[in-house]
Amino acid sequence: MRYLILMAGVLAAGFGLSSPYQIQLLTFIGINSLLALGLNMLMGYAGQISLGHAAFFGLGAYVTGVLTAHFHWSPWLALPVAILLTAAAAFLIALPLLELSGFYLGMGTLGFGMIGYVVFRQWSSLTGGDSGLVGIPSLELGPLSFADAKNYLFLVWAVALLCIFLCDRLIHSRIGRALRAIHDSERAASSMGIDTGRLKVHIFVLSAVMAAIAGFLYAHLVSFISPGSFDFLVSIRIVTMVVIGGMASVWGALLGASVMTILPETLTVFTEYEMIVYGLIMITIMIVIPQGLFRGILDIYERARFRTGSIPAGPQA
């Protein structure tokens, strides 16, 4: 039901909006939602953090960018390559780090993000270095051309909605329960026979793959990418989206992505204070409502519902 409403909303917005600026903004919200959703799966459900998600985002964008612009591959061939490469990188990062406590994963992914940024800048024969990579073609599917901004909007949101739908299903499955169990108590989860290490690696890879898909969509939308779009601040922006939307909330990711996309656009002074705002948001929300805005409101609602329920009799053997 919620999907139908959202779909209708996107369709209405797509046909209703005429200004290219607004369409572009909505498209970016879709791409950011993908990023936030992916990281949310990792942070909210597995209780692990990644401070280098921009590198996975960048990997997706650069792999498809290089393959299509330099080697003239079809984007649809480049997509699986981008996904596979990102998954492999994420797997290698996750395998040893997820055994360690959350702080080390934070530092490790931070370091990985820096490595990614340096590689995008320095490997200029492929990536174009600081001046960026130009000439990434737009997407085409048969007779349908996504060079048209509205079509691209629909494409991005179709992918985003599909991912939200799939993640929602995953969370409400056996795997999702196991993930939440790890988040609540790793010791108890492993005493239930859950292979916590393996599951954490899987969710990390899933999270990175979603970032890569977002990167793919981003690259073919803007047709020009440069390292600046994948630096540390971008990783922080994604974390902030998750924090605003609330960890462990698929729909919160949408909210976080919308806020973090619209806010910088509407506040023109924002660039000066961007970092201060991010920092304050992260600190304040973590202290006051660690579940995030969205989840915080839901929690109040759920608590109220439980209070009114009747009290059962308890265990009697």
Partner: protein, 291 residues
């Protein structure tokens, strides 16, 4: 030979700065079990405060030095008092997000206060560089080495000889037990935060004359300090020093083979390798908390 010696000199100089930053990470981890992602930002604040106080306000160097370190110590204390202490459930991910938030906040504040430009600082003294076997040794390097040694010794004496220092070690072993015997554990955490921030500040003061300082210098230095602390084994003071020097020298020698752009990446690759293969550090024996 001459070139090699030159690399070693510059490596040891940078390494000593990494060592001081690493010491900040290490002592905070040792006494609270936390890793502060804003540590690098304290380095930035230390460096830029020194430049402002010394060259901007024209304070004498020792006063400017003390002032810069005091400013970072206060920033560290505020981080603990207003952010860390208010956390209800200290899950690692929450603490990571808060300290990362603090780091980005401080960086934003740094940009507002000092602008986006880089600032330089002269050396602490005007001696001519020394010539040793054809390689030049800057007087600033000696300053850095002496001050680093001073910090390490000071910390060692603080932990071993002073009641407060021993109380802090007690808190590190068991906060609960320390509280029961009457140690004000909250104050100890506050003190640990400001001391670790002060060490970041000292690192910043030391590095200010070596390179240009700007609001975004913190993350690189913070990560390298963390890398050094990991090499030596988190929680170990001497490990932090050895780790810092090792990282500095390796990095300096690496410049000979790698381009300067890749130099930064090399330190992070090293960090990842250490996290993979020796998370307890090359020297450390303490087991890494697995959760």
């Amino acid at each position: 030979m001459q070139e090699f010696l030159q690399y070693i000199f510059s490596g040891i100089t940078n390494g000593a700065v990494y060592a001081v930053i690493a010491l900040g990470f290490s002592m905070l981890y040792g006494s609270t079990g936390l890793i502060n992602f804003a540590q690098g930002e304290f380095v930035m604040i230390g460096a830029l405060s020194l430049i402002s106080l010394w060259k901007g306000v024209n304070l004498p160097l020792p006063l400017a030095f003390a002032g810069a370190v005091a400013i970072t110590a206060i920033a560290g204390a505020m981080l603990e008092r207003f952010a860390i202490r208010s956390v209800k459930k200290p899950h690692p991910i929450v603490l990571v997000i808060i300290t990362v938030g603090a780091s980005i906040l401080l960086r934003g504040v740094g940009m507002l206060v000092w602008g986006k430009d880089s600032h330089g600082s002269p050396s602490f003294s005007d001696h001519a560089p020394y010539d040793i076997l054809g390689a030049t040794l800057l007087p600033q390097s000696l300053w850095i080495l002496v001050l680093t040694l001073g910090v390490v010794l000071g910390l060692h004496i603080f932990h071993k000889r002073f009641l407060t220092g021993r109380a802090m070690l007690a808190c590190a072993i068991s906060t609960k037990a320390a509280g029961i015997v009457g140690i004000p554990t909250e104050k100890m955490v506050l003190l640990a935060f400001s001391m670790s921030a002060a060490m970041g500040g000292i690192g910043g003061v030391l590095i200010a004359p070596l390179s240009m300082s700007s609001f975004d210098m913190g993350m690189n230095l913070g990560l390298k300090g963390f890398c050094a602390a990991m090499i030596g084994g988190l929680g170990s003071s001497w490990g932090a020093v050895v780790g810092g020097l090792l990282l500095g020298v390796l990095e300096a020698l690496g410049v000979g083979f790698l381009s300067s752009g890749l130099k930064d990446a090399a330190a992070f690759v090293l960090l990842l390798l250490i996290l993979y293969f020796r998370p307890s550090g090359l020297l450390g024996t303490a087991s890494v908390q697995r959760f």
